[in-house]
Amino acid sequence: MRKVFLGAAAAIAITLGTGPASAQNVKIGVVMSFSGQFADPGAQIDNGIKLYMKQNGDTVAGRKIEIIRKDSGGIAPDVAKRLSQEVIVRDGAQVLAGYDLTPNALAAADVSAQAKTFMVNMNAATSVITTKSPYMARTSFTVWQVNEALGAWAYKNGVRKAYTLVSDFGPGWDGEAAFQKGFKDAGGEIIGQARYPVANLDFTAFVQRAKDSNPDGIYIWVPGGPQPAAIGKAIAERGIDKSKVKVMGQGELTYEEALKSMGDAGLGLITAFHYDYNHQSAKNKAFVTAYNTEFKRNPDMFSVGGYDGMHLIYEALKKTAGKTDADSLIAAAKGMRWESPRGPMSIDPETRDVVQTVYIRRVEKVGGHLVNVDIDKIENVKDPWKARQPK
Amino acid sequence: MSTPALSTRGLNKNFGSLVVASDIEIELPQGVRYALIGPNGAGKTTLINLMTGMLKPDGGQIQLGGEEITALGPEARVRRGLVRTFQINSLFPHLNPLEAVTLAVCERQEVSRTWWKPITAYSAEVDEAYGILKTLMLAQVCYRQTRELAYGQQRLLEIALALATRPKVLLLDEPAAGVPRDESAELFAAVTNLSQDITVLFIEHDMDFVFRFASRIIVMVGGRILVEGTPDEISADPRVREVYLGSAHHG
């Protein structure tokens, strides 16, 4: 009982923005999917968080960091919102973090705004999210950021007639719109497009259709899970020659496990992304090694989102000397710039969104393994969608 | 003679090559107690199914009190007064007799459509149901779940449910099947003592009961009506003797 009331008192204190005594722990409520269809991204984000804390200790500016994990179990903004409320009200968290899925992040943004709580979006990639709370920053990427850059790059590299195939839901539509905008602005022509059902299992029919329209570039937007491998295999099976037709997509298309099950079928796929474990830099090599020691697998974009998210929280806390009120923390986060395993990145002081390098990679065989090899890069990419919104 | 309570003309039904009803012509006058007898597989239950609309005939017509009902569904026939019971108990296991019979009364009165008034507001219907149960000696057990009742009581409840619909014609499919003999007699007595407005046709294997309680008898064999007449006529008929009464065992 006593604990319950103390928690409530602390929560009230925080929501009033006064900030509790600095001797207390800094509690970070991490809300995302730990179970269900989206459990793996959740696990990888969590690994990123754990590794960062292992490397950098669990004490910042004299205050101990405590993580409270909450499972939203999939697309469930009502649950994500409740858990975010509870983690503040019940557990006394001063920072919200995690958020793998757009609807969940959007719902939690309300809580962040209402309770005046600093929030780090470690994954959800829809542009609009960061506009929903003035206390939110993002350490992942946005769909527009990556795909508009890819569209422009495609035209510059010889693609004139493209076909787009995307998953039929919000992020897929965003990917489609972003690629088409980048591509058409550069002068390209879209000769056909299709959206496939979210739960689609077999892609043969869609790939055949794309092939029949004779494009010189095919753009694909696919979420993680089993679909990338299925698409990669279908492309190889339908006999699409990747030296004549560029097959392009966002990074998920060629994530590690997908490539493993595609086998040589994956060779030659081109993707745009902000991170890959094969990215060649000293910082990333160290990160990948440490990650493997700890979790027996390679990090991915989710891991780096969690890792950099923790970095942002730690650095912001250092700047505020342990003060946890949302105004101080977000002020500290704005404009922060650092070298991540993914390369240089920063938080846009205006939009609080991530600014980073977008890499263009091609699947090649290196030492018997299929990996994404960087073949080009576009530096300092901001979220273009936000730049176009009326201020 | 006035319009028969129930009549069929040229009723036919096949299941593939198996003929289960062939050219059935029946006329049941008002108020008569009819027995329908015949060896197993003669098509007696099928005939009831056809008359009550649970099976669709391949050909022929059925009239109830002079009204053509061949095209009507079973519910509509019940609401016009053509009601049956089942050979194998077909009851509401988790309702008690009071609830079950009240249900049937309420359906008849069309008050089952109201969902905003409690059942206790319909005291006339409840009393009527209780009255039916009383006449059938079920009042003592009417608050017990049906599935807990003795078998004979469940057979009576079958009839109670049928009575609750205020039938004009009542078709009883072996009402006493499985009931001890002394209880069967009570049951048949209760049936024959029903109001003379009700025409009754019952299927029964026990010839004692048939001859004691039926005023007329129909004999079916192989989906056809062999003969129809008074108990005396039937017992004297040599054809009946041959195909039916003569056989050593009728079960």
Partner: protein, 287 residues
């Protein structure tokens, strides 16, 4: 023209996958009246066995398939003997609750043992790539899938219809009391039927990895498709499941190719209209 043939071929292959995954449920639900929502959990076991044997022990893909079958069948027998049999006479709802509980537990157990990661399966080279036959592209794995499923179906039908064992099983599930009277080991027949159905699901799970992937959510994600096949085909009918799976596989594929804009609606529209036309399923005996 070639596109039509191609769509038919791909749809048929996809249908065969659905068939393997669902035929066991059709048998246990239709003949034994047991609602086993954990059917795909047994399928998942098959998938994980194949992955483990291939990736950790270096077994060739084909050699893992019998193991997938055996593992799923054996596990299912354990559950059948210890839990399911106690509920053969319980209400459908209780059966649902029990088996959905097992699904939840199996999802968590798979996540605990294998992690939430997508399991890769690297097929041997002769199952990859494709052949061109009269201008139609035939995927090698799909050809294999079709051939394999046809053989399995044939074996299944022959062993149930033309052997003494099959006759006993059919007698046992048709009329328990009579079968017992004839001295047939009814409990044994039930256990074997259950094992057979789950084993086939295990096989389906193993064969599905290359096409639809494998992670702990498999047990829930494909339940819906399996239920669709079973209901459209008609309970207890092997032939019905075969036809329904083929029909759904092909209509799904054709829908995506010719009308991609309604691709996601199609499988449900097909199911609803078929069931409205024949509520007992295409080959069902009972509604």
């Amino acid at each position: 023209m070639t596109s039509v043939l191609g769509v038919l071929f791909d749809g048929f292959a996809y249908g065969m996958l659905l068939f393997l995954l669902s035929v066991g449920l059709s048998v246990t639900l239709g003949m034994m009246n047991f609602v086993n929502l954990a059917h795909c959990s047994f399928g998942m076991i098959g998938g994980y066995v194949t992955v483990t044997l291939m990736n950790s022990m270096g077994w060739p893909f084909l050699a893992t398939l019998p193991m997938a079958f055996i593992a799923a069948a054996a596990t299912s027998v354990v559950f059948e003997r210890t839990m399911f049999r106690r509920l053969y006479r319980a209400s459908d709802l209780d059966q649902c609750l029990l088996t959905i509980g097992l699904v939840f537990a199996s999802v968590a157990a798979a996540a605990y043992i294998y992690g939430t990661i997508q399991q890769p399966v690297n097929l041997p080279s002769y199952l990859r790539g494709s052949y061109q036959v009269m201008g139609v592209t035939l995927g090698a794995y799909r050809l294999f899938l079709i051939a394999f499923s046809l053989v399995v179906t044939a074996v299944l039908v022959i062993s149930l219809e033309y052997t003494r064992f099959g006759a006993q099983v059919r007698a046992a599930v048709d009329n328990q009391r009579m079968a017992r009277g004839l001295g047939i080991n009814v409990d044994g027949a039930f256990a074997i039927t259950f094992a057979l159905g789950s084993g086939l699901a295990g096989l389906g799970g193993a064969l599905a990895i290359d096409i639809v992937g494998l992670d702990p959510s498999f047990a829930l994600a494909y339940l819906v498709y399996v239920l669709i096949v079973v209901s459209v085909g008609g309970l207890g009918s092997i032939g019905g499941s075969f036809v329904a799976a083929t029909l759904l596989g092909i209509s799904d594929m054709a829908g995506k190719y010719y009308f991609p804009e309604i691709g996601s609606f199609l499988i449900y529209l097909v199911m609803i209209s078929l069931l409205m036309w024949r509520p007992a399923g295409l080959f069902g005996r009972r509604a």
